[in-house]
Symmetry: C3
Subunit: 366 residues, 3 copies
């Protein structure tokens, strides 16, 4: 096989360097000390070295200023008066926001050519613009439509008739089942499976007969999906993930699940079929939701919570079955002290038993 010079779909970027002056300019901040000092990396206060720009955005880490070995410091205005730390500085309003901006500059997306690796298998009926990258071994099925500036990683399999919006990035080994639709700028991490046939059967003489799963799977703009997730297609109708929602790794969504815009779903969450999750809902790691529920907008479901009934908008729940988070934690704390309550009841019984015979004697004696 010919070995290409260019992009092989392994997905790396390139790091550059910048001066403190340019860093201040990019973040609306000001330089203290040597503006020509060049930094190549951003670090924490603890792990910074001579060429690094350490950052301080939270007073809790101020204690790390003393031993900091970094060459320069990115610091929030409010924390700039604290003692210790590098003298050459960029002082900004909010060091955390500035950090994100500078990371984007120091680690720009790969500026590689829009190469199609010769080992990719692209169906002649697929639509693929000049400005799209296709990694080694990727397979693009019949009638698939790929948008501009899309990057398809090595060994991705794009099913028949699937559509990928402009600017989307698929890391290696992603599967899109036939007919799946990804919006613009969607990011899918390695090994996620989108549009899988859902878990639907009817019983017939004791056997499970598969209900054909013929619905769609729609991932809206700006969604990010972690690694090794499984998103089922609709049974009838669609599974849908709303604009800007973010999924961590190993998340499972059953058929016809609907995720509202900007929801945040942490790793290993599982959501059973037809459950609708409102806008901006946050689901903690390993939480599980049974099917056919409605989770109101802005609700927060704790890590490992097991939700078996609807949740009102804005509610905060945890535990199995999930309840109000604070009530649940208090109840569990009480549970751990249950032996004491039990002992108190035992004492009451003994005291009352000691009291009653007297009284009975008194009655008898009366």
């Amino acid at each position: 096989m010919p070995i290409p010079e260019g992009d092989d779909g392994t997905g790396a970027g390139r790091a550059a360097g910048l001066t403190l002056s340019r860093a201040a300019e990019a973040t609306g901040g000001r330089v203290v000390g040597d503006g020509s000092f060049v930094v190549r990396r951003i670090s924490t206060l603890r792990n910074g070295g001579p060429g690094d720009l350490a950052f301080l955005a939270d007073r809790r880490y101020a204690g790390d200023l003393a031993g900091c070995q970094a060459g320069a410091l990115l610091v929030s205005e409010a924390l700039n008066g604290l003692e210790g730390g590098p003298r050459d500085r960029v002082v900004v309003k909010d060091a955390r926001r500035a950090l994100v901006a500078l990371l984007g500059i120091l680690h720009p997306p790969a500026t590689r050519s829009w190469i199609r690796h010769p080992s990719a298998a692209i169906h002649p009926t697929a639509t693929l613009p000049d400005q799209a990258a296709v990694g080694a071994g990727a397979v693009i099925g019949r009638g698939a439509v790929v948008g501009r500036r899309v990057r398809i990683g090595a060994h991705c399999v794009i099913g028949e008739g699937a559509r990928i919006g402009a600017g989307a990035v698929l890391h290696p080994q992603v599967t899109l089942y036939p007919g799946v639709r990804l919006g613009r700028r969607v990011i899918v991490h390695a090994g996620s499976r989108i549009g899988v046939d859902g878990f639907g059967y009817i019983q017939e003489k004791g056997d499970h007969i598969r209900i054909p799963q013929v619905g769609g799977c729609i991932i809206e703009d700006d969604v990010e999906i972690g690694a090794n997730c499984t998103i089922d297609r609709g049974s009838l109708g669609n599974t849908r993930i709303g604009k800007g929602a973010k999924l961590d790794n190993l998340v499972h969504l059953g058929h016809n699940v609907e995720i509202g815009a900007r929801a945040m779903i942490v790793a290993q969450v599982g959501i059973a079929g037809s459950t609708r999750v409102g806008e901006g809902v946050a689901l903690g790691g390993q939480a599980g939701l049974v099917g056919h529920l409605k989770i109101g907008a802005g609700a927060r479901i704790g890590a490992q919570a097991g939700v078996i009934s609807d949740i009102a908008p804005g509610q905060v729940v945890s535990g199995y079955p999930a309840r109000d988070h604070r009530r649940y934690l208090r109840a569990m704390a009480r549970l751990m002290r249950l032996s004491r309550l039990s002992a108190r009841v035992g004492r009451l019984e003994r005291r009352l038993a000691a009291a009653e015979p007297q009284r009975e004697e008194g009655v008898q004696g009366g």
Copy 2:
């Protein structure tokens, strides 16, 4: 690479259309209205359009009949008298069963040729019938045996000596470790790993020394395995999934696990080594079973249940540690009211304290 016209292993099917007369014929039903009306899709009452056949199989959805926009209705005989909904109809005994039949007709399996994609790497000692499809980039190892009418998706890796029964379907990127056996008509979804070396070590001077995992992994006829599952091979002896069992996505089975025929295992369940699950057992999502247990036939394990001891046949359990489902839910409800019980005990203590001194005084005074 030459671009094939035919099957590239991305897995799509084709949709057709049918008349209400043919739909009635296929389901043992009768037509009301225009038997020549053509439908192309089955929909819910809510999302149906002019070319769709909506269905009503459950009285709870009767309220959706009024606004239904679908062109025609598939309805159970018992619900046919309800008001509203499309006039052109197929009336059947059980609309849900009829639905499955019609979905199979409207969305037939792909009728594509039995092509081997030229990029597949098939070992010369592997056995592969003419009637078998091999997707782009698939790898079939030394001595593997593939049955008739098998479909191997793009980028699957079939280990040395593995055997795949007639009519099986492997979606893209599945891994069969060496020696794995799949029965007839088995379906495996994208990214599942079957026959993985199990988690077995002995301690030696504080280090963990791997116990070679040399057992087999046998998946019987008509099993379906979801996406991104992990099924370990036996340590010694076999891991086995019984005939007709169904696994959802992201399920983990440890070494030497045995799953009975027709068991249903919902997404993200984990079963530790050597546990035996009886026939027809149902496991809810995210349930976990520790190793070396026996789960009796027909038992039902609730979502997120944590099972740490044997379960009798037919038992219904939930919670951690798993208990009788209804007792568990009642106990959790009581737990949430524990503050009230605690308050009652407090009142008793105060009342008794108030009573006792009087009595003591009485005694002293007596």
Copy 3:
């Protein structure tokens, strides 16, 4: 595509046979009976056949000796006097340790040539020794460095600049994101994703803006990682798995997690960002740890435990929120008897109510 005679990366080994005499020699044991008897497989007492060496290392299985069909027996000295079982024997100090040694002999690692499959896409700037195997379709990115005697399975994708230590084994379809470092003799099972971008966002006008994830991911010597795991790279700084730690299947580690040497992490565990797990910690299946925790060396976290605060060294916990294991189980047992406690309180209330009016009457009567 040319079909190679040699290694295609499917990963099989070869089994051989050995005499009881050689088995005794290899395990420091002694032969009883026919030392020239050849065994080809090790089995349990139950599933052994005429050519098998069954083993008995635990008195609990002594009852299986009676019906054992195996040709020969590997038995611990202390259990050799028990009745029944094969007469031709290898008697050793510890049959479990001997078992591991003999499995290594009966199932030696594949002794195949160091072949690079012609369909692999190896970047010209990658470093690859003669003694390394690269499976079909594998992709090795720009500047990657592969050590001696490394085996890279079919369809693995090795990101730009990644480094793989000598003797490491990658099963099929593994992804190393750019810059990941694997130590010597690391084993990674099929479909695991290492160095994934972590789950980090800042809020900006209600949207989630990705924080570029620019840290590293370091897997130290002798680590084993199961199938379909997801290991995030550091946000800044590194994610790190310490020497000799073992991960089962479907484990998730968030960004900047640190796992101590020789930790054992069972299937489906999830650990959120920046949590540090000490040396030799054991985590049960499906356990979950929230972020920024410290788990002390030697702690044991039960299956399904939900850990939301630091755990002291050596502590044993379970439940959600995780507590001392024995206290938790006792509390749950008490919870299941809560109805009885409630009934006792009810009886106390009635008895006291019956007692109080009398007294009040007495008072009134006084």
